[in-house]
Each structure stands twice: as C-alpha cells, then as structure tokens.
C-alpha cells in the first residue's frame, strides 16, 4: 500500500522562477526504504522538504500533488499539516551540531513533540523519552535527559535527534544526509539504529543521500535526481548494477576503485622520515575556562619514500590532520624528529624543505584568498623560484592551469568558479613549483561524487607526471584504496597499524582497522569487481 505519493512535483525560487525541482514523481510504500540520490543542486532536499510542507524560505511549490497517508497535502489547513508533522512524518537533519536547540535541554526537546501530539502525563512522557534514549544506545539516559545538546558529540546528538523523532512513531521518516557529518564508524552505528527503529515501528524511510554505499546497504529502491530532474528510478540492484542512464552510470563509475598495481617500493633513504613525533596542544584559554591540554599526536614513526603515496586514515580526533600539519612544520612539535633527505628539519625553518613541500587543503572555499585572481594564486609560489623571468613565470602558470583543466581562466576570481574548479586551483598552486613532498588533507571530501572522481584522477596523473611523494590524509577509505601505495591507520594520536595497501585492506590485523573496514559499505559487482563507496 502506498504511504506517500508525489506526482509531478515542481519547486521554484519565488524571486526569479528558477526551477529547483522539475516534474518529479515517486512513491513510498508502507515499510519501504527509498533512497533519493543526487549531487549538490539536484533538488533532493527541496523535494523532501516539500513533503513536510517546510520548504526553505525563498522556495515555493509551483505544481504537483503530494498525497501522504491518503491525505492530499494541498487540501489541508496549516493546523492539520502541523498535526501530521511528527506522528505521520518525521525528519532527521544533516547537521547534528545545529539541528538541536542549544538553549533547551535534551529532555524538554524530546518531550515537546509528545506533549503536542499525545495526551500523556509528565511522568509517562519522561518514561517514554528515557526508554527511547536507551533504545538508541545512550549510556546514561537519566543524565542525558537533563543535559544540554552542546555536551554531546556529533554522533550522540544524531542519536538524540533520531530518538526524538522516532518517539512519535512516524509512518514516514525523512532522513536528509543524516550521517554525512559523522565519521565512518559512527555513521554505521547511527544508520543501523535508524533502520532497526524503523523496522520496529513499521516506519517507511526516505533517505536522502549522495552516498551510493549507503544506498546499497540500506535501501530497497532508489531514485536518482540531477539538477531537479528525475534521471532514473528502480530497485537498488538495478540502479547500482545495471544502470540505464548515462548519468547513473557515471555516478556508479565515479566510485573509487582499487588501482591495478602499486608503485614499486623504493629502497634506500626515505625522502621524509619522522621519528617519535609528538604534538601537544596546551589548554586553550576559552572565554570562561581553560581547556585541559591534549596530545594530538603521540609518538609517531613514519617513512615516506620519494614518489610514493602514503595514506593516513582514522576517525575524527585521531590526530591525522595534526600529523600532516606538523610534518610541514606549520605547527610546533613537542618531541621527536623530522628528517628531510636525511637532514634534521625539526627545529629549523629549513628553506629548502619549505620550498620543496606543499599542502592541499580540504576546503577549496577558504584556502584561496578571495581577493586574488586565479592566475595570481597559481603564480604566487613562483615568487620564490630564483631567476625566473616574468614571461617564463606566466608561461608556467598558463601551462599549469591547462594541466588541471582550467586553461584560460587565469583572470577569473575564485568565487566565480565551482568547488571542483577551486580545488583544481589549489592543486595547481601546490604543484606549480614541482615540490618533492605534498600533504593532501582530505582533498576531495568537500566535493560532489563525480567531481571527487575527476579530481582524484587528476591528482594521480599529476603525481605520476611530477613524481612527488604524498601524504594523503583521509577518512574516506574508498579514496584511499584508489590512490594509496601504503596505508597508515591512526587512532588517538598513535599509529595502530601500517602496511601496504593490499595488506591493510585484505588482511587487516588491528581491531580498529577491521572496524573501520567493516563500517565502510562495499558494493559487490557480482564478483567482477568491488568498489568501496565513499564514506
């Protein structure tokens, strides 16, 4: 039986009539798990919000019919719509840090929905809340009930969110990228809880995601959207294993796959070598308190040979980003040694090391000076190349831009370009001086799937061409599997396991590595090839 049917939905920007969702139709059966897949700008969030009647301000529904649980939403009053929100349809949001009200205690926020929709006594409400908190595996429900959201981590908040929505036993749960902000392990836990709860209550789920791995693991059917239009719909197997449309095929092909062979292990002296590296942060003076000091990196040994790619993986707080920054001498170390080409560069601001090493940032929006043109940005590192004539410099910049597929865009401003284009600029800026060592800190995780694939390919090609060594920091095992020669697994500031890529992925030894691998969803292409979906 159909719980939700959406027919010919059309959503526009009120101001300029630009179409966000164009003629989209789909249905969700009772107890079914439907995934809506799309990249940024696909209109997937707007379509889902329309079901709740809560379009973001500035957007309006311009056409189509939404029937929820037998009720045509166009015909209900605002009051009746409010009565549907909660018991009939609930929503879990993407960003756990801003989706709970910081000024209201967890218990009061959970109780609010119950109080509105059911006639219950105070004690009964509290009891149901505590039961639900226990159900989402929160250790101390009593304490949690009276605590405020800021006292919890992202994963915990997302469980609280889930608990507060499922408390009303909705018939339909809309989950908008519910785990995108979480690391791989937490993502798995939260989603498993969500599916379990939905099954208990017979709730249908509409999962909005960009992650095909989650689709394959959890959804029965999927709908692919692109730029507001429906591309393809079908069972998860059809979509993933025999996609009919070119765009769907591109999405599936964009999943990173393990490269055929790794580069030969080099013998002899490593290019960069780190011994017993320690980085501690003194407690930070906050407005009202001083945080206790933490040691972010605690005794790391690591060798990187010329031309090799070493991936560092780990959850949030594992110290992987700090390690990368410390190896570039961007933050002070509190112990250990860093050697570059056999020379100790720990204490000195070694000019040769500085000029031979580079960093690619995660966020291409904040890593480019908004007041410099693309050409200037890429030319800037060449300031430090001695005896470089202006003509020669311009030629190299133009060649580099062409290399990253941005030929002729040198006069543009960064804000005029897309995220993927910006990340290409950042890569061009890092490579233009032909460095020997590049640290790439989550270089693709801020980008859309198909863009990720392009940028990763570009990065690999440039590495082959220029032969720089790379420290590839990522929480995304799929990307790591594609580019890494060796893998280092970090947890709590220490390396718990390291080895060749194949050893780590095929024969993991440490429990944490095993857990990470188990949490990252894998697509099995009928035995032919496997692809790990981005996490």
């Amino acid at each position: 039986m159909t719980l939700l049917s959406v027919e010919n939905l059309r959503i526009e920007v009120s101001a300029n009539k630009a179409v966000i969702v164009d003629d989209v139709s789909f249905a969700v059966e009772r107890g079914e798990f439907l995934a809506v897949v799309g990249e940024s700008g696909s209109g997937k969030t707007a379509a889902a919000r329309a079901v709740l009647g809560l379009l973001p301000s500035g957007l309006r529904k311009a056409g189509g019919r939404i029937v929820l649980d037998g009720i045509d939403l166009a015909k209900v009053s605002a009051r009746q719509m409010r009565a549907l929100r909660g018991p009939t349809v609930g929503m879990v949001f993407q960003e756990p840090m801003v989706s709970l009200n910081p000024a209201i205690s967890v218990g009061a926020q959970m109780a609010e929905g119950l109080g509105l929709h059911e006639r219950l006594g105070k004690r009964e409400i509290r009891g149901r809340c505590l039961d639900m908190l226990a159900r989402v595996q929160i250790r101390d429900p009593e304490r949690t009930f009276d605590a405020y959201p800021h006292e919890f981590s992202g994963g915990m908040r997302q469980r609280i969110m889930l608990a507060s929505v499922m408390l009303l036993k909705p018939k339909l749960l809309i989950a908008d990228e519910p785990t995108t902000a979480l690391d791989t392990l937490t993502q798995r836990e939260v989603l498993d809880l969500m599916v379990g709860l939905a099954r208990d209550h017979g709730t249908s789920v509409l999962l909005i995601t960009h992650n095909l791995g989650l689709v394959s693991r959890y959804a029965q059917r999927a709908l692919v959207l692109r730029q507001g239009k429906m591309v393809e719909t079908g069972t998860t197997r059809q979509i993933l294993f025999s996609p009919q449309q070119a765009y769907t095929r591109r999405l599936v092909e964009a999943l990173p796959r393990r490269g055929a062979t790794t580069k030969a292990q080099q013998v002899g002296e490593p290019l960069v070598s780190v011994r017993d590296l320690k980085v501690g942060f003194a407690g930070r003076q906050r407005l009202f308190r001083r945080d206790t000091g933490v040691s972010a990196v605690n005794g790391v040994d690591l060798d990187i040979a010329a031309g090799e790619t070493v991936a560092v993986v780990g959850g949030s707080g594992s110290g992987k980003t700090t390690l990368g920054r410390a190896m570039l001498r961007l933050i002070p170390t509190s112990g250990g040694a860093i050697r570059f080409r056999g020379r100790d560069v720990t204490a000195t601001t070694d000019r040769e090391f500085r000029l031979a090493s580079q960093l690619v940032f995660q966020d291409p929006y904040s890593s480019l000076d908004p007041r410099m043109r693309v050409g200037e940005l890429v030319a800037e590192p060449l300031r430090h190349v001695p005896h470089l004539a202006a003509g020669e410099r311009d030629r190299r910049v133009e060649a580099m831009l062409e290399e990253v597929g941005l030929a002729g865009l040198g006069k543009r401003w960064p804000h005029e370009l897309s995220g993927g284009q910006r990340q290409r600029i950042a890569i061009a800026r890092a490579i233009v001086r032909e460095p020997a060592f590049v640290v790439a800190d989550e270089p693709v995780s801020a980008l859309d799937m198909t863009i990720q694939a392009q940028v990763l390919k570009l990065f690999e090609r440039l590495q082959l061409q220029y032969g720089f060594a790379c420290l590839f920091i990522s929480h995304d095992l799929a990307a790591v599997e594609q580019v890494a020669d060796r893998v280092v697994v970090m947890q709590g500031g220490r390396i718990v396991e390291q080895g060749s890529r194949d050893d780590i992925f095929d024969r993991p030894q440490h429990d944490y590595t095993k857990a990470l691998l188990a949490a990252a969803p894998v697509l099995d292409f009928d035995g032919a090839a496997t692809a790990r979906a981005s996490g």
Binding site: L52, R82, R85, S99, N101, A103, E112, H150, M161, F288
Partner: protein, 314 residues
C-alpha cells in the same frame, strides 16, 4: 561560580587602575596651574596656597597619586571647590536621578524592540518587516536631544500635558515626579529602540535559518511556540550583551538629555562642574561612571549563561 566572580573582579582591576591614572592625569594635563585655573584671576596667594595644600598639589606627583588612590579606596572622593560638599554623596544623590531614567528607558526599549525585531525577522522582507526596519533606522538617526526638544515642544508647550522644566524626587510626590521624568524616559526609549530592534532582528534572522527551527516545525510545533520557545531565547543572547553597551552609551549621553529637560542628574553635574572648573567633582563623576560601566558589563556577562547554557561560569 564564586571563583569565576573573583576572577572577573580581578580582571577589572587593571582596567580601573588605568582609568584612575587617566582621570588623575587629566587635571595635571590642563594647561597652566590648576589652582590658578580653578580660582580664576582674582586669586590671592594665600588662598592659592591653601587650595594647593588642600589638593595636595605641593607634593611630588607619585605621592599625590598614591594619596588620591588611598583616599578613593576609603570612599573619599574629595570635596567640591564651589560649595565644599563631599563629592561622593553629591554624585550618589545625582546618580539616582540618572539611574532611574536610564534603567526604565532600557527596560522599556528592550520590551518593545525584542518582540518587534523577532516578528520583523519572522516576516522577513514583508511590508511589516520593511516598516519595522525603516522605523528603527529612522529612530537611530534622530539625535536624542533634538527628539527631546520636539517632545517637549509638543507635550509640554503645545498640548501642555506635562510640565516642561523641573524635577521632584520620587520620595516627595510620586505622580509629580513621574510627570517630570516621563518625557526624558520616552526620549531615551525611542532612541534605543532603534539600536535594539535592528540587533534583535539580525539575531533572529540568524537563528531562524538554523535547522533546529525547522526541526521544531517538523515536530508539528505551532509557529507562535517556535518563535517564543526556540527562536527568542537564542536570539536574545546577543541582544543581551548589547544591552550592557547601550546602558553605558546612555550613561555617557545622559548629560544631553538632562540638559534638555533640566534634570539634576549625574551628567548635568559633570557638565556644570566642567564649566565651574570644579575638578574634584569632574574627576569623581568620570571615575564613578567608569566604575558603573564596568560593573554593568560584569553583571551582563554574569547573567549571560541564563540565556545560553553553552556558556557556563563554573
């Protein structure tokens, strides 16, 4: 909490010390001999010497400063030159007048501005929003003393509803006293409504964009409750910090309003003392205002956690 309070109080000491040094230096920086300046041309040497000794000006400057600070610490702000009254009681008496006006005005302004800003943000870009923003910007642009003059002209002189000039303490006759201060309060309220409404609106817009507001709506919470329970507390926190600044701003600008309405407040005392070259009183007024300002901001900070549980004062 107590530890925090102690730490915050300690932090105000360097600030107040610098303020004291500044206020002390002020009189020394006035060109010419302060005693001559104070007494005018008709001073005879004996009188000058006596005043010099009374002010301690015959001692080395660091010694003078230490003496002055030591006396301040015991609450001795010195004596007025014009009428020989002790400065601190004089200031306290005048301060009562200013404090009543400022506190009532800020409270009234906040009570009007915060809901207005909230509703304007809720109906962002509607006609209602435009008129609230327009009105607030207009109020922000009218100088308080001119607004005061206009109100005086309208209610005092044309309509003759309220007395024009004078002041009666509340202890003597409540209604008469209220009649005298209603216009000054109205003036200050209107001026501060401009600032606070714009702030409250901006803060509310920020909050309304956040997902927890949508989350509340997705639970089926009615709009009035979304605004009152989810938006207001979060939008009020930044507005609350502004209230401390507004209070200080009003204390600084109160002299003008007291001049317009001829009220015997602290600001008027300061200005009159400047004209009378009564420097002990000038010093006392400046120092007192700075202390009040620091204390008000301390109280504002201490109350902040009431509106934002993320900030604790443990």
């Amino acid at each position: 909490m107590l530890g925090y309070l102690a730490r915050r109080l300690l932090m105000t000491i360097p600030t107040l010390l610098l303020v004291a040094i500044g206020v002390f230096a002020l009189v020394r920086l006035i060109p010419g001999d302060p005693v001559q300046v104070m007494l005018g041309d008709a001073a005879d040497p004996a009188q000058a010497a006596q005043l010099r000794a009374q002010l301690g000006l015959d001692q080395p400057i660091p010694v003078q400063f230490m003496h002055w600070i030591a006396k301040l610490a015991t609450g001795d702000f010195g004596h007025s030159i014009t009428n020989n009254l002790a400065v601190l009681p004089l200031i306290l008496e005048r301060f009562q007048v200013s404090a009543v006006i400022v506190l009532v005005a800020v409270a009234a302004a906040a009570c009007i501005a915060v809901p207005a800003g909230l509703v304007a943000a809720w109906k962002q870009n509607s006609l209602l929003d435009l008129s609230v923003v327009g009105g607030a910007t207009l109020l922000l642009s009218i100088p308080s003393f001119w607004l005061g003059l206009l109100l005086l002209l309208l209610f005092g002189l044309k309509l003759k509803w309220l007395p024009v000039i004078g002041y009666v303490p509340f202890t003597e006759n409540f209604w008469q006293a209220a009649a005298f201060i209603v216009l000054p309060i109205a003036t200050l309220t209107m001026v501060e409504i401009g600032v606070l409404t714009r702030m409250a609106r901006a803060a509310s817009i920020e909050v309304l964009r956040l997902e927890y507001v949508t989350h509340a709506r997705a639970k089926g919470v009615p709009e009035w409750r979304v605004l009152a329970r989810h938006v207001l507390p979060n939008a009020f926190a930044p507005t609350w910090t502004l209230i401390g600044l507004v209070l200080g701003h009003l204390l600084g600008g109160i002299a003008v309003i007291e001049t317009v309405f001829t009220l015997p407040g602290l600001g008027r005392l300061l200005v009159d003392s400047i004209f009378a070259r009564d420097y002990p009183v000038v010093q006392g007024c400046l120092l007192f205002t700075a202390v009040i300002y620091v204390v008000v901001n301390l109280i504002v900070d201490l109350c902040y956690p009431l509106f934002d549980p993320r900030v604790t004062v443990a």
